[in-house]
């Protein structure tokens, strides 16, 4: 039996000699399993220590691990606002499923946002409609945390991001920025170009562009909606609804504000719909082409005295302030944007627009209660990383012209422009596929032909919704025009 024993012994030795397969524990920073709303799979969640006393918990970092760990660079998602949390971008993972096969997707809630101690000043659900009251509440919040408000800024967000990159042991990374997140991404590119492989920027807010001057951009988006409406046989019947909208806003008064119906409860409204709030609600509707498609009908009805459709449309954004941490929003916006905007620029931007200064005033009033120091940027230096720009021609806050005129210092950029697209187009049509292709080979020009297939949703033409047939009423008009 000695022979057998020897065989057994050698067998045991052979099994013992392959410890890597038998105990495959990985030595990495410890992650907890967690979930985010809008994405069903579990994520690896970390707490990354930053700052001192005011940040005992550390930054919340959430990673959707790549299905195959093939060593491709991870993609970090940067949220908008300022004040939105990256963890709120989790639903985007559904569109980025293909990217997630090879790339880890990382979401970092910046200090003062989301799970990294949301600095929301008590505005968790809704903001008071009255600007003075809002301003007073904001001032009180500032006085409680002046030091914290002073240190929240883009520089800190970028430094924290770099710390997270090193903490997770990532070499080069790719960034996806949406809206204000594109500003953070472009600043990261200025300060840490060596850590970057590629950038995807959707709704671009270039470093030098004053994005809070939003009136002209919103007007441009509205005008494009009007043009597309006029070209649509069903929508064209609303005629000069753009003029009616102006009339509506001009004539808006206390009685109308108080009798404006509430789209959620069906009861008479508790908070009056003030003129500036209505103008901002219309601006908000332009963000999303599906909502914008209902605007001509709603305005047409309002001009005939039926305010229900307009109320239903504004009801779409009833809880849209969720997720913006106002303390963070004002700390960054006041320090980096508002103080570099002159009254003359505001006047020039708002002249002849439906919005006027209704959007700007909200921030200008808020910043009076939020006296943080100005934190100017230096002029951007040339950068050569591949950049993919995505914009919608009817974006009311970051129109394509920003990306086209203020990014001359970038030498390697590709440009996807969605006709009739609103704010943020990364989920639409073939865009997710093109982003995946870009991240696979950032230096190869993309075949953009499929972008043209992305259409505006059908216009609402009557109480029944969109027209299913070419409308017979407006046909003679068009024919008449041709004669």
């Amino acid at each position: 039996m000695e022979w057998m024993q020897r065989l057994l012994k050698s067998l045991i030795l052979m099994i013992a000699a392959t410890p890597t397969a038998v105990t495959m524990a990985q030595e990495e920073p410890t992650a907890k399993r967690c979930y985010l709303d809008g994405w069903g799979d579990s994520l690896a969640c970390y707490r990354v220590p930053v700052g001192e006393a005011d940040n005992r918990e550390g930054l919340a970092v959430m990673v959707a691990p790549a299905v195959n760990s093939s060593g491709r660079e991870p993609l970090y998602l940067l949220a908008g606002g300022p004040g939105q949390a990256a963890s709120d971008l989790a639903p985007l993972l559904n569109a980025f499923r293909k990217i997630n096969r090879e790339h880890d997707i990382v979401m970092v809630d910046r200090r003062g946002a989301g799970r990294s101690g949301a600095f929301n000043c008590g505005f968790e659900r809704e903001m008071p409609a009255d600007l003075q009251q809002f301003s007073a509440e904001l001032a009180e919040c500032y006085l409680q945390h002046p030091g914290f408000a002073e240190q929240l800024n883009s520089r800190q967000a970028v430094e924290d991001l770099e710390r997270v990159r090193r903490f997770l042991g990532h070499d080069k990374i790719a960034l996806w920025g949406g809206s204000w997140g594109t500003r953070t991404a472009l600043l990261y590119q200025q300060w840490y170009p060596q850590s970057l492989r590629a950038l995807v920027l959707d709704g671009v807010a270039p470093i030098d562009t004053k994005v809070f001057l939003a009136a002209s951009a919103a007007e441009h988006a509205l005008q494009q909606l009007a043009d597309d409406c006029a070209a649509d046989s069903g929508c064209a019947r609303f005629g000069n609804w753009r003029g009616e909208l102006q009339q509506l806003l001009n004539d808006w008064n206390d009685t109308r504000a108080r009798t404006f119906p509430d789209a959620l409860t069906g009861a008479p409204t508790e908070e009056p719909m003030l003129r500036w709030a209505l103008a901002n609600a219309i601006r908000s509707a332009l963000y999303d082409p599906a909502a914008a498609a209902q605007l001509p009908y709603a305005v047409d009805q309002a001009s005939r005295g039926n305010y229900l459709p307009l109320s239903g449309l504004t009801g779409l954004f009833a809880h849209s302030s969720n997720g913006m941490a106002m303390g963070l929003t004002f700390s960054v916006a006041c320090a980096e944007e508002l103080n570099r905007i002159t009254p003359e620029e505001v006047a020039r931007d708002s002249a002849g627009t439906f919005l006027g200064s209704a959007f700007f005033d909200l921030f200008a009033t808020g910043c009076k209660s939020w006296p943080v120091q100005a934190k100017p940027y230096s002029a951007p230096e040339p950068r050569a990383q591949p950049v993919l720009l995505i914009s919608g021609t009817a974006d009311p806050i970051t129109p394509p012209v920003y990306a086209h005129t203020a990014l001359g210092y970038l030498s390697d950029k590709q440009d996807l422009v969605v006709r009739g697209g609103g704010h943020i187009n990364s989920r639409r049509g073939c865009i997710p596929e093109l982003i995946a292709q870009f991240l696979d080979a950032p230096d190869v020009p993309l075949d953009q032909s499929c972008v043209a297939d992305i259409q505006r949703p059908p216009f609402m033409v009557a109480a029944y919704g969109p027209a299913v047939t070419v409308d017979s009423q407006s046909q003679p008009q068009q024919a008449g025009g041709q004669l």
Partner: protein
């Protein structure tokens, strides 16, 4: 059995050399082992590739009849997955036979009924006996559902109701599976197939070395030699096991080599098998290969004839595999560590873990392998006793 060990080792070596030589010289047995070992990984890879292609790349062709009654449908239904072709006329049955996956018919009064909120009918013709019917219907429902939601939303807004009132709550699904546990679903049959490979690859050899030798009368000559019975059985077992083991090693290697070709990532499955994992899998199967070989030899020896041996072993090779599949499908909870002391079940569980990149515990693997080797030793002893019976040689 009583001979001195120094003689025994030299004899054993000579005997083993003879048995191995005979085993590996049998070209047909070798070819059969190789063929089967390569066949199942190839089939698994092929079917996965085919399955994913079917589900992700195939476009649905939809014939739209009566589009003049609702031109909106044509533009809104078209998508990357759904190819919409408008036809002025056609017979649905013929269109379905002629290459369309679905036929959607819009009736005459559609537009006027729609405008007066009367919910007009849309007719969907489908051949549910066709393999693509389910996928095609899913593609259409996806687009049609979106359009339906858009219209319902607009109708609510028109009446001053925020469309989110249709969503009383949001159901957030939280999937507790991991990429490796999703992999376990697709790869669940692999351990059973690897074990089956062991049986199949060693079948021909085990029959030949026992019942075959008996019929060729060369077993008698062997038994006339001054050799202890256990050495004869052990040498034959090792020779047979070498064939089975190599077959399963070949299968593992082929499987792992084909994995990168399989579109596992599309199914959300990680390719987690490591080189060390492959080596470990091979080693895990060695004790089992020995057990399978010795049981096959014993059964073949006590059979009536060569043919009888073949039949018995064919049944034997199916029994454990079916048992494992039943265990797997009936979802018997095997997480209890003591299952790892049961031969076959133990190897199946370990292979399953290693295939999806999970860890196996070394002490339990050693204990389980030992538990597999104990019956091997017992079977060798049993075989040695059986060889002393003369009746064994006469059974032809």
């Amino acid at each position: 059995m009583m001979r001195r060990p120094d003689y025994s080792a030299a004899q054993m070596a000579a005997l083993l050399r003879k048995e191995l030589l005979e085993t590996w010289r049998d070209r047909r047995a070798l070819l059969m082992a190789i063929c089967f070992s390569l066949m199942f990984p190839a089939m698994l890879a092929g079917s996965t590739i085919f399955f994913v292609k079917m589900h992700t790349e195939e476009k649905t062709r939809l014939a739209l009849l009566g589009v003049d009654n609702a031109p909106l449908l044509e533009a809104q239904l078209r998508s990357a997955d759904l190819k919409v072709e408008t036809l002025s006329e056609g017979e649905p049955r013929q269109l379905l036979a002629g290459g369309y996956d679905l036929v959607l018919q819009v009736g005459e009064g559609f537009a006027s009924d729609y405008r007066s909120f009367r919910a007009p009918e849309l007719y969907l013709y489908v051949d549910s006996s066709s393999a693509s019917a389910g996928r095609a219907e899913r593609h259409l429902q996806e687009r049609l559902g979106q359009l339906q939601q858009l219209i319902a939303g607009q109708r609510l807004v028109a009446r001053g109701i925020a469309p989110q009132l249709l969503v009383p709550w949001k159901l957030q699904v939280r999937d507790v599976s991991t990429p490796s546990s999703r992999g376990a679903m697709i790869l669940a049959m692999v351990p059973g197939l690897l074990i089956l490979t062991l049986f199949v690859a060693s079948l021909a050899t085990s029959v030949d070395t026992s019942a075959g030798e008996r019929e060729r009368l060369s077993l008698e000559t062997l038994l006339l030699q001054p050799l202890p019975g256990w050495q004869v059985i052990a040498a034959k077992t090792l020779a047979v096991a070498s064939m089975g083991w190599l077959g399963s090693l070949l299968a593992i290697t082929a499987l792992v080599a084909l994995m990168p070709l399989m579109p596992l990532a599309e199914l959300g499955i990680q390719q987690a098998t490591t080189a060390a994992g492959v080596v470990t899998m091979g080693l895990l199967l060695l004790p089992l290969a020995l057990l399978v070989a010795v049981v096959q030899i014993l059964l073949a020896l006590r059979s009536q004839s060569f043919k009888d041996a073949q039949t018995q072993l064919s049944i034997l090779q199916l029994a454990p595999v079916i048992l494992l599949m039943v265990l797997d499908m009936s979802r018997v909870e095997l997480s209890d560590h003591f299952w790892q002391l049961v031969p076959l079940v133990a190897q199946q569980q370990w292979l399953k873990s290693l295939l999806v990149g999970d860890a196996v515990s070394l002490p339990w693997v050693l204990a389980g392998s030992l538990a597999t080797l104990v019956p091997v030793v017992l079977a060798v002893a049993l075989g040695a006793r059986a060889l002393r019976r003369e009746r064994l040689l006469n059974a032809v």
